[in-house]
């Protein structure tokens, strides 16, 4: 059964339809990439999936259960983890405490098990040495890692990554992609919005193109990238 499915999901802000009849299914453990120009409604789609926004129409299910009316807190408990495009760490908490909060309240991990789980995630995301630092003092790469680590600590079954590679150097990007591939290897489903295409296509199995809130295409990455329509709209190449 699909871990996540969106059926005819639409959302408008005033007269502007930012999500227009989006429908797709995400298989257990699958990685799906989302691309599209700025303003295509990519982050709005994440807000709908994470429960920060309610769709005007359509149904969102997690493992077959209708969660359309559920709050972000309930979606988190149901296994949706999210990282933000602009990192939103709890700046006055240490890196480790950021994960503890996510594990205890989001992942339902007991106080006894949480420290080991959090330290393990910190190691895997390359943050072990920063564990005691205030999260507000981290560099951009570390903040992005923290976004990922904190989302992982909520023990998600599907994780939403919003332009996590944006703003990183090539070297940093390679490291982060390796980490994400590791997470994917554990069987956690991923939906990843990204402008850094080579990072994206090295991980995802399918690619979706959004434009003006509509799904333009969804399919294997090379097929999608080869499509003239996508080249024109997304890459701005005249064909």
């Amino acid at each position: 059964m699909a871990i996540l499915s969106l059926q005819n999901v639409s959302k408008s802000f005033g007269a502007l339809k930012v999500t227009d009849d989006v429908r797709f299914e995400l298989a257990e453990g699958e990685a799906l990439g989302i691309i599209g120009p700025n303003g295509a409604g990519k982050s709005t789609l994440f807000n709908l999936i994470a429960g920060n926004l309610r769709p005007d129409e359509g149904v969102i299910t997690l493992s077959g259960r209708d969660v359309t009316g559920e709050s972000p807190m309930q979606r988190c408990a149901s296994g949706v983890g999210r990282s933000f495009q602009i990192p939103q760490p709890f700046g006055h908490l240490s890196v480790y405490e950021n994960l503890l909060v996510a594990a205890r309240f989001g992942g339902g991990v007991s106080g006894h098990d949480a420290p080991a789980l959090c330290m393990d995630i910190l190691r895997r995301t390359g943050l072990a040495e920063s564990a005691a630092k205030p999260a507000g003092s981290l560099s951009l790469l570390s903040r992005k890692r923290l976004e990922l680590a904190r989302a992982m600590a909520t023990r998600p079954r599907v994780i939403l990554l919003d332009e996590i590679a944006g703003g990183l150097t090539d070297g940093e990007c390679v490291e982060l992609v390796a980490t994400i591939r590791g997470i994917h290897g554990e069987g956690i489903a991923i939906i990843w919005i990204e402008h850094v295409l080579h990072a994206l296509t090295s991980v995802v199995e399918r690619l979706m193109v959004l434009n003006f809130g509509k799904m333009l295409m969804i399919g294997a990455p090379d097929e999608v990238m080869a499509s003239p329509e996508v080249k024109e709209i997304y890459l701005g190449i005249e064909v």
Binding site: F90, L100, A102
Partner: protein, 287 residues
């Protein structure tokens, strides 16, 4: 020597002001809510203790332990059904609502308890004191200061050593993102206000033990509490304790010079600290 004694008495008085301020500081730190009814809620707690005492004949200390859970539940309900409805981007609605609550509380207390001054009868302990070297210290003022330290210490332990405390701090940092960590900010706020009113109940116990109270004295207690929080630096609990002590010491010295200057001296100290350190004595590092 007289000045040293004044200093000590001021510190003891400051303990009471720190207790007034701790609940205010807690609520402000977590939800950026300035509760203008805080002083009146302290007075309300004093009447709750008084009510339990007169109904059962209990000692106020024991009555206060009964009042603590009552006030926690009251704070929880207040937050859930009133404050949570108005907390948001705009800071004006919560100010207006807490101001309204202040007026309503005062008038309800007047209605039920009249304008007469009341006092909590503590029994023999009221007149007892200990002599430490050259100083004679009243037991009640000593207990007040000790309680202030204990409350600030306990709140710090709660904040920095427990899962609930981390939820408080995370919610304070970003009340939207915590939702994605499975935290319900409104429940966190409700617990915080409940705890703040428990601290207010302790403050009320010592307020009533030390001096007379009537339904109208809340706003002045709010002012002292507010000054203590600002002097200490917003968001710092130990700072709030320090702020309370500064006000207490300033008032004691003012009163020693001329009894009419007690209140004024506290306010002057507040202004003086703000002139030198506009963000208070112990501001949070990266705000």
């Amino acid at each position: 020597m007289i000045w040293l004694d004044t200093l000590v008495q001021g510190v003891l008085l400051g303990g009471l002001y720190a207790l007034f301020a701790a609940g205010l500081s807690l609520v402000f730190g977590i939800m950026r809510l300035v509760n203008l009814a805080h002083g009146d809620l302290i007075v309300l707690a004093a009447y709750v203790i008084l009510g339990i005492c007169s109904a059962t004949g209990m000692n106020p200390f024991i009555a206060a332990t009964l009042a603590l859970p009552v006030m926690f539940v009251f704070g929880w309900l207040l937050q859930t059904h009133l404050f949570n409805r108005v907390l948001g981007e705009d800071i004006l609605p919560p100010l207006l609502v807490t101001f309204g609550l202040s007026v309503v509380t005062q008038n309800l207390l007047l209605e039920f308890f009249s304008a007469d001054s009341r006092k909590l009868a503590m029994g023999a302990v009221e007149a007892q004191s200990v002599t430490l070297g050259p100083f004679t210290l009243g037991l009640i003022p000593l207990a007040t200061l000790g309680s202030a330290f204990a409350v600030i210490f306990a709140l710090n332990q709660l904040f920095y050593r427990t899962a609930l405390g981390r939820a408080f701090r995370a919610t304070s940092d970003d009340r939207v993102t915590v939702q994605l960590m499975g935290i319900y900010p409104q429940k966190v706020f409700a617990i915080a206000t409940g705890i703040a009113l428990m601290v207010a109940t302790l403050a009320a116990l010592y307020l009533g033990a030390r001096a007379n109270f009537d339904p109208t004295i809340g706003p002045a207690r709010l002012l002292y509490a507010f000054e203590a929080v600002i002097i200490g630096g917003l968001g710092s609990l130990w700072g709030t304790l320090a702020g309370g002590l500064v006000i207490g010491v300033a008032q004691a010295f003012g009163a020693a010079i001329n009894p009419e200057w007690q209140i004024l001296a506290g306010h002057l100290a507040f202004v003086a600290v703000l002139l030198v350190r506009p963000r208070g004595l112990f501001p949070r590092a990266n705000d």
